[in-house]
Amino acid sequence: MEEPEQGFAAGRHTCRPGILPGPTRVSSPQDDTWNWCVYLGHTMVLQPSERHYGDWNHRRLGPWCSPTGSPAPLSCETGCGEGSWILVCRLLVPTQVSLLSMEEDIDTRKINNSFLRDHSYATEADIISTVEFNHTGELLATGDKGGRVVIFQREQESKNQVHRRGEYNVYSTFQSHEPEFDYLKSLEIEEKINKIRWLPQQNAAYFLLSTNDKTVKLWKVSERDKRPEGYNLKDEEGRLRDPATITTLRVPVLRPMDLMVEATPRRVFANAHTYHINSISVNSDYETYMSADDLRINLWNFEITNQSFNIVDIKPANMEELTEVITAAEFHPHHCNTFVYSSSKGTIRLCDMRASALCDRHTKFFEEPEDPSNRSFFSEIISSISDVKFSHSGRYIMTRDYLTVKVWDLNMENRPIETYQVHDYLRSKLCSLYENDCIFDKFECVWNGSDSVIMTGSYNNFFRMFDRNTKRDVTLEASRENSKPRAILKPRKVCVGGKRRKDEISVDSLDFSKKILHTAWHPSENIIAVAATNNLYIFQDKVN
């Protein structure tokens, strides 16, 4: 077969969608021909849909780039005919670049590098808004502002290449939420995915909850690797046959097909939240979950979508009296009757659902008294808790406010047992940060699998880790310039005053538009996922 011009994807082939960094030659298993696939940086290429990929995202089309780097429009409006490509533009920069494609053609690397540095194709819809590993760490889900969910799967470790640990490749993509319009209030409901939470795996399929401001959805992600062939009433293309032409009957058989991953919405939990949903949390009974908005928390049963129970309601009868909102909520990892929720005043309430149906009266109330020497106009804002997470053991809770991360023992309500300064050098800049609204940024925090290390994000694409045992901490940076594949991350340091060392960065040089709000830690291994605006970084412990 004639070699197509480099830079054009011609014909069709069957390949498993994945992130490949540059023009790649992929061979078709069916007829052993091969074709080029050109990627825009790390664009995901979908198979043309002579098969039905109902959940693939057809809508967000990115510009097609020839190897010289100049964008050219791709005419995808013609639809999904055979031989055409449907392109989804997504900029992701995994640090584990698949070496397979790099080795194939040397000259692809040059193109690859230029793609990597080109930021102009990033759109706001690609901003990652949530990251979550599933319970085994095999899958990693991200949600973005455009309402899409992308799931990565860790590839099986091969015995031949022991030094290469399993890398994450794209497994499934689907449009979880669409923008909606509330006609009565004349306002648009954003499709941005606020949170994703996985359900524990109980059969071959994977289940996750995803939510935007108003609606929670339960998605089922399942694989299909067989398809039925030999229908009597339909021909091989799926067209109905004229019954008069059927003279024999045959039994359809299941034949293997290329692996297809499909995501289907199984439940939609809507119309239960007046305010914006900020948290969802699956209960340890695996039958219920809760969703929390600014003023209320509702308890759902996975099977029932038209009803939820309100378990917390802090809305005052007179809205004039409103001074506090709910900022985050989570179920205890083991006790299905216990949950916590945090507030904009820096308090955490632990509630027991056995005590009463409406958990307005808390069982425990966690609050640290204010330090009088640190008071300012912004005291309340910086004390507002942006995230609350139980430790895996269930003994501790961790909270994130604007400047610190705190660890609380469930048995001690009057103060945290540990406080870690994330970026205390910002304390003198609160006024400017109030002005540009950065002071309202909601950072998340995570535990590692053994609850010995905690991690949270900061500005300038920095993220911080704190070792609870050794009390050591480290600042790392997630950026393309500094991260070559397999490069070891160098610790960073912010210079707070005085003489700045060579590799330090001064507070005034920090880029406050580069914020790391969302991070995730593998449940058992030292693998972390860090979302930096529209880029996802996956870092692993150095393998010996």
Binding site: D182, Y183, L184, K185, S186, L187, E188, E190, N271, A272, T274, Y275, H276, D294, L295, R296, N298, N306, Q307, S308, F309, N310, D313, I314, P316, A317, N318, M319, E320, E321, L322, T323, E324, V325, T327, S344, K345, L358, D360, H362, F365, E367, P369, E370, D371, P372, S373, R375, S376, F377, F378, E380, I381, S384, C431, Y434, E435, D437, F440
Partner: protein
């Protein structure tokens, strides 16, 4: 305990007598390090303007971020109190309850300051900041709770809520001045009876208790907001 009125408890609260009267008034202390940083009046006033701008901007959104709004309002309250006190005013009498003190501060604050703030709030008051969604089909729990009789801590929050009393009482006639509202008057406010044809504004067929409760008021407010929203161009969105 559920809603603290914007005040945190002090670090040392071992004096019994003080506990009930403990009011966070660090901004009154001229020796406080935060106050000593910059000329208080100047810093406060620019922060005040900034906060009012933020509040204004937040309320102009079609659906304000409630957390942002609450934090800005609370901060604005702190700044405003500080400014009022640094404007060389007569000392305010100490009162037993925090809301009472708040009210008193407002009352004794600088006349022009409170007048400008009041006029700003009045301008903003036509914006329904926080409307309620149409009543969802699920039970939302007990509809109301006793307010405890505490007066509002900040007038700005009037425009946050449905402010059911004032808008309905005064504004309803204003809104529908040349419209015959007898249908709404009779259908919505009277106890539900079988003979009545349901008005277009009725909720989704949910059975309601005869007397008007918060749920119905919420829904009515929502309708009014919908009408208001249609009359003005939608905001820039979130």
């Amino acid at each position: 305990m559920m809603l603290s009125k914007g005040l945190k408890r002090k670090r040392e609260e071992d004096e019994e007598g003080k506990e009930a009267l403990a009011v966070d008034t660090w901004w009154l202390d001229p020796g406080h390090p935060a106050m000593a940083q910059a000329p208080p009046a100047m810093a406060s006033s620019s922060l005040f303007d900034l906060s009012v701008l933020k509040l204004h901007h937040s309320l102009r959104q079609s659906e304000p971020d409630l957390q942002h709004l609450v934090l800005v309002v609370n901060t604005l309250w702190r700044i405003q109190t500080c400014m009022a006190l640094t404007a060389a005013l007569p000392p305010m009498p100490s009162l037993p309850t925090a809301p009472g003190i708040a009210d008193n501060l407002l009352a004794s604050s600088d006349a022009s300051l409170s007048a400008s703030m009041a006029s700003l709030l009045e301008d903003l008051s036509h914006i329904e900041g926080l409307s309620q969604a149409p009543q969802p089909l699920v039970d939302e729990g007990p509809p109301g709770r006793p307010t405890g009789g505490a007066p509002p801590s900040l007038g700005a929050l009037d425009l946050l809520g449905p402010a059911t009393g004032c808008l309905l009482d005064d504004g309803l006639e204003g809104l529908f001045e040349d419209t015959d509202t007898s249908v709404y008057d009779s259908e919505l406010w009277a106890p539900a009876s079988e003979g009545h044809k349901s008005s277009p504004e009725d909720g989704p067929g949910k059975e309601e208790a005869p007397e008007l409760d918060e749920a119905e008021l919420d829904y009515l407010m929502d309708v009014l907001v919908g009408i208001q929203a249609l009359e003005r161009p939608p905001g820039p969105g979130r």
